[in-house]
C-alpha cells in the first residue's frame, strides 16, 4: 500500500501552495484520508477533552490497544476488520467499568491494575492472532502505526456514523458528565446517576479510541485523543472555549500531519504525533508565560 505514494512523490513538493494542494487531493485515497481524518479528529478532540478532564488517559490508551486484537482477530476469522475495531474496545470498556472506581487510594490503584492487565492480555491475544494468521507482517505495522492509505468509502461512512452517534449521546449526557467529573460527591448528592454516566462515557471513549486507531494506528491514538485536549486545557480554563479550541487543534494537527506525511517518506503517525506534541509543548510554555503575567491576562479574559 505504501507504494501508492510513489507516483505522487515523483512530482513531489513544489512549494507552490495551490499546486501542492491540488496534487494532495488528486487521488481518491487522499480525499478519503482527509474525510476520515476530519471526522476522527473532531470526535477524538471532544471525547478526549472529557478524558483528560476525568484523568482516564490510561483507560483510553487501553481501548485503543484493544482495537489491535479486535482487528487482528476479525481478520483471522474472516470478518471485517472494522467490526473488530469497534467490538473489542467496547467489550474492554464493559470489563473495566465492572470494577468499581472509588475515587482515590486503593480504588484507583485497583482500577489501574485491571486496566493494565486487560491491556497486556489483549495485546498478547493480538500477537497470537497475528502469528496464527501468518504472513501478515506488513499488516501488523499498519495496525500498530496506522495507515491513511486505502481507506474505503464504506469505512469513511462507518467512521462518520459512529462519530455522529457518539457525539449525539455525549451531547445528551454532557452536562451531568461534566458535573460528575468536576465534583462527583456533590453530583451524587444532587441525584446525578454518576455510575451510569461514567459507564456510558467509557463506552463512548471506547468508540472514539477505535475510530482514532484506524487512522493513526493503535499505538499513536494519543496524538489525537490527548494532545489537542491537553493543549486546549492549558490555554483556557473555560469549558466551552477549551472544547472548541481542542477541536480546532485536533483538526489542524490531523490535516497538517496528513499533508506533510503525503509529501515526506516518513510515516504519517510520526508527523501527527510530532505536530500534536509541538502544540502541547507550545501550550505549556505559553501558559507558563501567561501565569507570570497572571493579573493582566485575567483582566483580558474577563473583557473578551
Amino acid at each position: 500500500m505504501v507504494a501508492a505514494t510513489t507516483p505522487a512523490l515523483a512530482s513531489g513538493l513544489t512549494w507552490n501552495l495551490g499546486d501542492d494542494l491540488r496534487q494532495l487531493f488528486a487521488f481518491h485515497f487522499m480525499v478519503n484520508a482527509f474525510r476520515a481524518g476530519t471526522v476522527v479528529a473532531v470526535a477524538a478532540a471532544v471525547l478526549g477533552w472529557f478524558m483528560v478532564l476525568r484523568r482516564q488517559s490510561f483507560a483510553g490508551h487501553t481501548f485503543a490497544l484493544v482495537a489491535f486484537p479486535g482487528a487482528a482477530g476479525a481478520t483471522l476469522v474472516g470478518l471485517s476488520a472494522t467490526a473488530g475495531y469497534f467490538v473489542a474496545p467496547v467489550a474492554a470498556a464493559v470489563v473495566i467499568a465492572m470494577v468499581p472506581r472509588t475515587g482515590t487510594g486503593t480504588g484507583y490503584s485497583g482500577e489501574s491494575a485491571v486496566v493494565g492487565t486487560v491491556q497486556a492480555f489483549a495485546l498478547a491475544a493480538g500477537a497470537l492472532f497475528v502469528s496464527l494468521y501468518g504472513g501478515f507482517l506488513n499488516g501488523i505495522t499498519a495496525l500498530l502505526f496506522g495507515t491513511f492509505l486505502g481507506i474505503s468509502d464504506g469505512q469513511v461512512l462507518t467512521l462518520t456514523l459512529v462519530a455522529v452517534g457518539a457525539l449525539a449521546v455525549l451531547a445528551v449526557i454532557a452536562r451531568p458528565l461534566f458535573f460528575a467529573t468536576v465534583d462527583p460527591d456533590v453530583a451524587r448528592a444532587r441525584g446525578v446517576p454518576t455510575r451510569v454516566v461514567a459507564f456510558v462515557y467509557l463506552l463512548l471513549l471506547a468508540c472514539a479510541a477505535a475510530e482514532v486507531s484506524q487512522i493513526t494506528g493503535v499505538l499513536l491514538v494519543f496524538a489525537l485523543l490527548v494532545m489537542p485536549a491537553a493543549a486546549a486545557q492549558q490555554l483556557t480554563a473555560r469549558p466551552g472555549r477549551s472544547l472548541a479550541l481542542a477541536i480546532a487543534l485536533g483538526l489542524g494537527v490531523t490535516w497538517l500531519g496528513l499533508g506533510v506525511g503525503y509529501f515526506s517518506p516518513y510515516p504519517v503517525g510520526f508527523w501527527v504525533t510530532t505536530f500534536g506534541f509541538a502544540t502541547y509543548v507550545v501550550a505549556v510554555g505559553g501558559r507558563a508565560l501567561a501565569t507570570r503575567r497572571a493579573r493582566r491576562v485575567r483582566g483580558h479574559v474577563r473583557v473578551a
Partner: protein, 294 residues
C-alpha cells in the same frame, strides 16, 4: 495416530536445549524483579507510567537498530533516561497522566519514524524486527543476553529490597513520610529508575507491549489476596515467576503459541481467578463497603 504426541514426554528433555535454559534463566530473574517492582507500581498507582515506559522501550530498541548500536544498550538507556525525566517532570517524583500521555505518544511516534528508517535500510529489510521488539522473543535470547538480563534483574531486586521499607512508607502516606524526613523525591526517582531497568529487561522477555502483563497482573492479584504489603510483595513475585515458568512450558509443548502470549495469558488467568474468588468471598462476607451508596 498423530495424536500420540505427548507434551509431558518432551518435558524431560526441556533443559537440554540451550535456548530454553537461557529463557528460563532470564525469565525467572526478570519475573522476580517485575513481580516485586510491579507490586509497588500498583501500590503507587503508577501503572500508567509503566505502560509509558514499555512504549519507550520500543522506541529505544528501534532507534538503536536504526543507528546500528546494540539493542540492549538502546533499551536500557532509553528506559532509564525517560523514567528519570518523567519523575523530574511530575510533582514529588510522580508524573501527571496528561504529561505522560503526551510525551510517550510522541516517543512512540518517533519509534514509528525509526522503524521506517530502519526497515528501509539494508540491514532491516526483512521487516520483522519492529514486531520482534514489540512482542518479545524470549526463546531467541543468546547466552550473553540472558546473563546480562539476569544480572540486571537481580540488581534491581536487591536495590528494591534495600529501599522497600521507606518506599512503602512513602507510597502509603506521603505527607507523614516527608514530615518524618524520608527523602520522598529521591525515593521516587530511584524507584522509577528501577521500573525503567525492569521495563528494559522485561521487553526482551515478553516484548515492549506485553510488559504490563508481568508488571500489573501479578501485583493486582497479590493485592486482591492480601492487604499485608510484605506478604503481598512476595506473592506478586511468586505469581510472576510461576507465570513465566508455566508460560514457557506451555509454549515449549505447543510451539504455535508464542511464549509472550502464554506468559501473559497465565498471569491474566491468575489475576482473573483471584478477582473472582475474592469477589465471591467478599460478597459472602456481607455487604461491607463494597456496596457503594449509588
Amino acid at each position: 495416530m498423530i495424536l500420540v504426541v505427548n507434551p509431558v514426554a518432551g518435558l524431560e528433555h526441556i533443559f537440554e536445549h540451550p535456548f530454553l535454559r537461557n529463557a528460563y534463566l532470564a525469565g525467572t530473574a526478570i519475573a522476580l524483579a517485575a513481580g516485586l517492582v510491579g507490586y509497588f507500581v500498583v501500590l503507587r498507582a503508577q501503572v500508567f507510567t509503566g505502560d509509558a515506559l514499555s512504549h519507550v522501550a520500543f522506541t529505544g530498541a528501534v532507534a538503536a537498530l536504526a543507528r546500528g548500536v546494540s539493542v540492549l544498550l538502546g533499551l536500557y538507556v532509553s528506559c532509564v533516561v525517560i523514567a528519570l525525566a518523567m519523575a523530574l517532570l511530575g510533582r514529588r517524583g510522580r508524573a501527571d497522566d496528561t504529561v505522560i500521555g503526551s510525551i510517550f505518544a510522541w516517543i512512540v511516534g518517533l519509534g514509528a519514524l525509526f522503524l521506517a528508517i530502519y526497515s528501509s535500510s539494508a540491514r532491516g529489510s526483512n521487516g520483522t524486527t519492529g514486531v520482534t521488539v514489540l512482542f518479545g522473543t524470549i526463546f531467541g535470547l543468546s547466552g550473553t543476553q540472558a546473563i546480562t538480563d539476569a544480572l540486571v534483574s537481580l540488581g534491581v531486586t536487591v536495590v528494591l529490597l534495600a529501599i522497600a521499607r521507606p518506599l512503602l512508607f512513602v507510597s502509603v502516606d506521603e505527607a507523614v513520610a516527608s514530615a518524618r524526613r524520608v527523602p520522598v523525591r529521591a525515593l521516587g526517582l530511584v524507584f522509577l529508575a528501577l521500573v525503567g531497568l525492569t521495563s528494559a529487561s522485561a521487553t526482551q522477555a515478553v516484548g515492549a507491549l506485553l510488559l504490563l502483563g508481568l508488571l500489573a497482573a501479578p501485583a493486582g492479584a497479590a493485592r486482591r489476596i492480601t492487604a499485608r504489603p510484605y506478604v503481598g510483595m512476595w506473592i506478586s513475585a511468586l505469581i510472576a515467576v510461576g507465570s513465566v515458568w508455566a508460560g514457557l512450558t506451555i509454549s515449549y509443548a505447543a510451539p504455535r503459541v508464542t511464549p509472550s502470549f502464554s506468559i501473559v495469558a497465565v498471569a491474566t488467568g491468575v489475576y482473573l481467578m483471584c478477582f473472582v474468588v475474592t469477589s465471591l468471598r467478599r460478597a459472602r462476607a456481607g455487604a461491607r463497603r463494597e456496596v457503594a451508596p449509588a
